[in-house]
Symmetry: C2
Subunit: 328 residues, 2 copies
């Protein structure tokens, strides 16, 4: 199968109107007066950001969802995406068809059309590069760097599941004790959280209406929070007990209390961190509830430029060895 | 150097206003009423699309220019780009600084700002993924698939230089005779044409005003022409003698007449192929001349759906073994 045949038979059916049937040099996107475009790009490398033997549809969906999570954090509605696919020399047509079917399912589910892209071969590992575009009403993108002292810090969902799921996948000797102590369904839940992020696009309207600042938590809560606070020129104290954990993560933590570090600084959460001024927290909570998205307040933004502090129930500061999971 | 330090010190200085100092999750681009956006994405893999030991600034510039060539072919003015950089495990900071300096030079020269991107590491080869955005007045993108019978087919510049430059770089046994017969400066010219494409952005206004269809020639004239004609539902005859060749390519062809196949079907020309209706060819030629871009008419579009035919001076049809250089 040549590159042209591959595009015509496997990817062209996914193309939206601006994709020009993937028959042109480029895609075309109308500018809507009063809107701004939000653009994000993420790269995923097999063996680094996912397992090469993950189901191909899950790889495609994770690649797209990582980008959708960035759009959600900016309160942008998905508009279209470009796919860069770097295939290893031994790629199989069946594998690619399942990859494309996962992408098609998610593109339909999240209402985002394929606009174009490029497909090449590499002597290295499978690499997926997606560029996603979203739109916001002019001036309403929620920035990362505008948290203010007094803002309440909220996170969506639960934190750290995916980092535990990765450890379960890696199954190193050091983790056998707590993994063995978890129920099978808890293990499956955590693995699934690593495999397939849930972009919080339902929160877009609430973020636009009520948040000063937001970002998606992709490299671990501790590190990403530190980034938000640094670019905002503020600091914060986080009550560890207020960080929302899933039942599976609580069970793992009960087996091995040292996992708190993994939960707070592991990556791939794809939850949203948002700073909301105190007078708007009630409205934000109502809007999130109406959208069916669980949120929890984990601390308050304060004046100052020290790195954020994570404090336990006994008032002790947790010294994190690493703030973020570093693929790099 | 961490990913964050790398972005802050090496790439943030290249960011345009919409790049938000590369400190946010995404980039922001205003929609200009009356404009449409044109989007293109190209992937380049070391050892496949360029030589891993090419100068890093040239690699960066080639990656950007390939995308600019796509924008030029659509008559779109450059607006911004996102950079996906997949670094091999042994990447060096010095290498990266030179890469970034080449990118900065070209971004300034072509007036296109860095908006964002992603940087990751791979156990495989260096891979560069650029997504470029351009703009056209609404409805004025020049499509690939709208060539009409009677249109004159023009190409910019000269054809096949880059394919010869690649052969000189590869220096296989079979090519030693004609390479050895070329002057050093001709060899250098052809190598440079492979190393550094010249996107024909100066032709944008002329294409918008006068062309029915256009595309950039990236995979070889024969194959790319066949694509344009196929999606347009037409055919054409090309007079080989009318295909513009550089003095260096003519010298190589004199050494080895079989190189005509390489010239017509080799890749990486990054010239523009345009179909212009007969009543506008004079104006198109004037506009191209005013923009300082050499163009030549190589044939006429005809009704029919046969693949295009390349005919020599004796009236013989040249049977091309491969229409395009296939990296894939």
């Amino acid at each position: 199968m040549s590159e042209d045949e591959l595009i015509a038979t496997i990817f062209a059916p996914l193309a939206g109107p601006g994709g020009l049937r993937l028959e042109d040099d480029a895609a075309l996107l109308a500018c809507v007066p009063g809107e701004e475009l939000v653009l994000t790009k993420d790269l995923l490398v097999a063996g680094v950001h996912f397992f090469a033997d993950d189901p191909p549809d899950a790889i495609a969906r994770k690649a797209l969802r990582q980008n959708l999570s960035d759009l959600a954090a900016k309160a942008a509605e998905p508009k279209g995406f470009l796919l860069g696919l770097v295939l290893p020399a031994d790629w199989q047509e069946d594998w690619l068809r399942v990859f494309a079917s996962g992408l098609a399912d998610d593109a339909a589910h999240f209402d985002i059309a394929l606009l174009g892209g490029d497909t090449v071969c590499t002597p290295g590992p499978l690499t997926v590069s997606i560029t996603a575009l979203g739109s916001v009403p002019q001036g309403e993108m929620v920035p990362r760097g505008a948290a203010k002292p007094g803002d309440h810090l909220f996170v969506t969902g639960t934190i750290g599941d995916s980092a535990l799921g990765l450890k379960i996948r890696q199954s190193s000797e050091a983790d056998q004790a707590w993994i063995g102590g978890l129920e099978t369904k808890s293990q499956a839940f955590l693995r699934q959280r690593y495999l397939l992020p849930q972009p919080r696009l339902g929160l877009c309207a609430a973020l636009r209406a009520f948040a000063h600042a937001a970002m998606d938590i992709s490299d671990g809560l501790a590190g990403d929070l530190a980034k938000m606070l640094r670019v905002s020129g503020v600091t914060a104290e986080i009550a560890i007990a207020d960080v929302p954990l899933s039942a599976a993560a609580q069970a793992a933590l009960a087996q091995d209390p040292a996992l708190i570090e993994t939960l707070l600084s592991g990556g791939d959460d794809y939850e949203i961190l948002a700073a909301v001024p105190p007078e708007k927290t009630a409205l934000f909570e109502q809007a999130a509830a109406a959208a069916g998205i669980p949120i929890h307040c984990i601390g308050i933004v304060a004046a100052g430029t020290n790195p954020p502090v994570f404090r336990d129930n006994a008032g002790q500061v947790l010294a994190l060895k690493l703030l973020s999971y570093a693929h790099f």
